[in-house]
Symmetry: C2
Subunit: 379 residues, 2 copies
Amino acid sequence: MSNRVGVIGGGQLARMMTVPAINLGLELKVLAESDNSSASVATTTVGDYNDLQTVLDFARGVDVITFDHEHVPLHILEALEASGISVQPPSKALAHAQNKIVMRKALEAIGAPNPIWKAVKSANELESFIAEFGPEIIVKTPLGGYDGKGVRVIKSSAEVSDWLAKETLELLGGELLAEEKVAFTRELAQLSARNPSGEFRSWPVVETRQKNGVCSEVLAPAPNLSLDLVSSSREIAELISTSLEVTGNLAVEMFETRDGRLLVNELAMRPHNSGHFSIEGSTTSQFEQHLRAVLDLPLGETAMSSVAVMVNLLGVSEDKDFVENYPELMKDFPEAKVHSYDKAPRIGRKLGHITVVGENLDAALATANQARAVVLGVQ
Amino acid sequence: MSNRVGVIGGGQLARMMTVPAINLGLELKVLAESDNSSASVATTTVGDYNDLQTVLDFARGVDVITFDHEHVPLHILEALEASGISVQPPSKALAHAQNKIVMRKALEAIGAPNPIWKAVKSANELESFIAEFGPEIIVKTPLGGYDGKGVRVIKSSAEVSDWLAKETLELLGGELLAEEKVAFTRELAQLSARNPSGEFRSWPVVETRQKNGVCSEVLAPAPNLSLDLVSSSREIAELISTSLEVTGNLAVEMFETRDGRLLVNELAMRPHNSGHFSIEGSTTSQFEQHLRAVLDLPLGETAMSSVAVMVNLLGVSEDKDFVENYPELMKDFPEAKVHSYDKAPRIGRKLGHITVVGENLDAALATANQARAVVLGVQ
């Protein structure tokens, strides 16, 4: 049986994949950007994922290549595939998570629900879009955005004149993505996994709450969601996963609109912040599922026997590690499951998370928020 | 905060400690006997734990020393303590887990329930014990037994004449432990943890089922146990833990007698096979709790929200790794949580375990046993 997984990228997602690899006795190797990455426990190569030879050398020691992030250039992945290396998700699928315009076109083609959108290349095109769908609209760079970066809410094309400058526009993908500003009541995320043999499983859809464009809280399952939307959410994930031939995890970030529809906001094809709750909250964690899926092993049960709330721990200091506050945290919250990514503290950086499993979402959320305040020392 | 734990011994218990260390962002270092031990992911030193200098050098890089097994000689631990190194559990506590006669004496002194026992040095003393408490009795070597080794059921002193030979007897501790053959209905295990500050927490008492002296199945919590015995079990663990100043985990193996009493069989002061269910079955796993306890951090919640059954995976072949059978296992049992210790296969060797969490012990046990048969290829 193939059991050697190579992960490109040494962030917290690779770090959290090491746990199921240890549990299951799989071999996990990480190609990290630096010696002291979050995934250093499994790092076997330190190098640049933009360098084909580095990636090829790394890939030769494993059975399958997968990812901690979506930034590996497509031409590198295509070269790996041409060399007979198994890349999961394959480049043709991952392209949709790398480029938001490629994604919008594909979702439209398969009938998944997009907000109103248009690829624009000039201030004039953008002004026309604003005139029709404004006064406020969203503009995104097709490449390179994450955690709110590469996204602006604008009323005038002047507010993205920097992105529209010829040279910058080329670097960003040659076009910008204009989208209607969706009137939504909340954001949801549907996590699922699919293996190359076509088996598909999904976790319960969750509610995600952002602060300053960064995920702050996840409520699993999403409370008070109609059964129709629960079904739709799963169907959208399966449609995308199957049609685009995604393998491994797929996170579909969605808006629940004021008029009761779901619209796809973003896609990620890897473990995702919205799925960290599954470590304690589900029979199979998203990290175990991703490893199973990319190795084409049968997928694990995704049921939840309780509810779960996850809150992110974003840095509040440039020097103090929140691990210092474990004594207070653990004394007051013996039920809180705290995760540290072992990253250097920086204000606003994702340094860890806390999950609280329970019978009641409101109570779990209150506990998780109190625990977060204590461990971050901000209560 | 102290966050560097050094574990002496590179077996599966050290391996399973690496998971909470990664989750919590603690530093875990292992002194292993060989390069390719089960805990190789965290091995920083390969060496002999009988060599004081090796252990001292290893200990200088961590905040606390703890154990994967109880075989480190007491004089080594005492030398560490004399050098100001934190050893948890301390040598004075661990002595009771190393020597069964020392344990029996201490349990008697604190009023914990022993079977009838006697330290014997000769065939004559043994024959007197057999005459009074036989026809069958149990003889144990005070040092070095595990998984049924160092234990015999005898009717005549001639059956342990090898152990009574002068030279062997000295190696075994100078005496043998004779015990009544307890008329028991089943075996139980009470797992708990205590930190140096004195905080104590226990998991629900479990039923353990052995085959050929080796743990085969664990049912958590123990079914159909009277509330009186549930309380007694916890009280016995707290009495022992507190009186002997145990730190870290304490496993108390007990007999439930035909006349409704509990008698202590064995003690272990570390994570224990009877507690593996806690990885998925409890809010805090025994491996996380042990790390918290030895670092003198507050202990985690030990409640179970479901029942759990754990079955050991003992080797059935000298060459085939059960990981090869993951495709069949995972297809048929998506709810089974399988753990591999990444050890070379050998007949009868503990190579891994499976845990099934559910609402009903009988159903979970049936599933776990079927899953075991499939992954071992013996169905």
